[in-house]
Symmetry: C5
Subunit: 156 residues, 5 copies
């Protein structure tokens, strides 16, 4: 049975992992979820690598950087760490970050975090179990958490 690692943080202000796990389970069966929570986003890369060593086939890394400039730097560092862990292990890490500054208030932030966590979870599911679903939607301008941009149609 496939294993999906779901890692989140105590720093985040929304329990994104619950939404992600629910979305995964709504999509199908035949996989086991490994869960871990770390303090902040910079702790995610090593947590993913450790999950891969425990047999995970894919990791979903959920985080919510703050709105300050320094938080963006931390997110950048965390992203590079996730890429490093992923390429090193040759296993996908689906990064799902929501920046506090992306939403104009608490309600919008909560909804954005929920939707993005769910949509990235569905992507994770597709990567593992239905790669053709992704292939069919290549170049379709899909967005996670916001309205899809859609494809640019050729105008004549």
């Amino acid at each position: 049975m496939k294993k999906i690692g779901v890692v989140d943080t105590t720093f985040a202000r929304v329990d994104m992992a619950s939404y992600a796990v629910r979305a995964l389970q709504s999509r199908g069966t035949g996989f086991k979820v490994l869960r871990a929570t770390v303090p902040g986003i910079k702790d995610l890369p090593v947590a993913c690598r450790r999950m891969f060593q425990d047999g995970a086939d894919l990791c979903l890394a959920l985080g919510m950087p703050g709105a300050a400039e320094y938080d963006k730097t931390c997110a950048h560092e965390a992203s590079l760490g996730l890429l490093f862990a992923s390429v090193l292990e040759a296993k996908p890490v689906v990064e799902c970050f929501v920046f506090e500054g992306e939403a104009s208030g608490p309600r919008e932030l909560h909804e954005l975090a929920q939707r993005r966590a769910e949509e990235h979870a569905l992507n994770a599911y597709s990567l593992l179990f239905r790669p053709r679903d992704l292939a069919r939607r290549a170049g379709e301008g899909l967005r996670q958490g916001f309205v899809d941009a859609g494809p640019v149609r050729r105008t004549r």
Copy 2:
């Protein structure tokens, strides 16, 4: 037979992979195309590494970052990930990114994406099958998707 991996995203707004594959096939035979689609550009590096593990001799990584500042950061991270995967495997990854902000409208964006995908595909073909074609054009100021800058001729 050589294998060329072609990886693109559902985030992109133009189906660049189709243009790239067509350009590859118009150029010659004697290779097999491996195809995969991932959600976004940060998922490209591990997809390339996995294709190399499946026998690809070269990967073409196609992506279309958005126009916002954060999209540029993501593209930078993705590029570093692609470089890491490529150097680690000692196999070429031809990166083909089109930034939404590079074009002034949908039509121009579509045409730019098509042309750049085709021209990078031809480069990929040359890297694998005709390295001397590239050697002959060293220092010629070639550009993908735009008019070539051309060489700087010595003026006297």
Copy 3:
């Protein structure tokens, strides 16, 4: 018995390691502390890697970058180095940096450094011995050294 590496610098202006070690010891027993001090934050990554080679299960890396622009660059480099060491060894490195510019004066700086060192030490303890304590607090908006941001509650 588990081993916790605690590495700090002579560059820092507060003896954060003492606070961290005290916090660790106040939390429980059953672990041994390995201590090292290096000149600056860029010396932390290799010191952590060496501690892992000496058997550490987790490292706490404490530093205090200056307030100048260049200090931020150094901190960024050090962070990437810590991520690299951590992912390479597949062992957690808990980074605890306090920037001089975060506090408005010496007293506040001292208090911030103490509190953050203590709170990161407790996180380190939880990562090693009580992962469920972290899991229970997923998405709770915890902050180290400052007041917690708290969770974003869904408003109706």
Copy 4:
């Protein structure tokens, strides 16, 4: 016999490799030049790694980034890739980049590119065959392509 890899790009607007090879050959014998041309500067790192695998003892990586902001980002990424390839293989990569914006016109650009390619080639030769020539000039403020800055003499 030692092997020197010389890699350049079709993106560059001056045939820097020819100048580099001529400079190498003017300096001595006892080495073989391996040549490759890739599309752009981000393709240089893997090309160097492959040359090392083919027996190169040192690589000279020649590139000419454009004048736009994005070109600087690409050059930064390429530089990190070259450092990665070099450290990984424990073999020197001499990076020789000329930015279009460094020169005020085509003639100056051509001359700068030629001079810098030649001077980096001589450095490459020294690294391999005459390390003492470099040691003798430690701290002398040498520059490639421009007038040397010279040493800062102690003033009394």
Copy 5:
């Protein structure tokens, strides 16, 4: 006997290595100095890695980036390369960079370079032979080349 690698550049405008070696020798015996000079700071990482392969226990990497914006980018890249080499080998690299812009004139630049080279050399010595000297000075706000910032004392 321990070996200390000392690597500097021909780009630097002060012969920092001589000051560093003298400072090392003034501090004690029981070690051998390995010397190398490379063209610029980006050549330092691989030179350090090669010295580690030749048996160095620690490397001192001395460089003097110019005052332009691009020089800062090069220094950043070189620093990341040094961190990579150091963590990969699990051996310390003491980076000693002096930026031309740090000093207001040639005399000050020379003095700063000398003092910083000497003080980093003493740090290198302590890392190898007297780790407790560093431990005793943890959190003391030490600076290399400038007056120490000193510790932040708790005010009541």
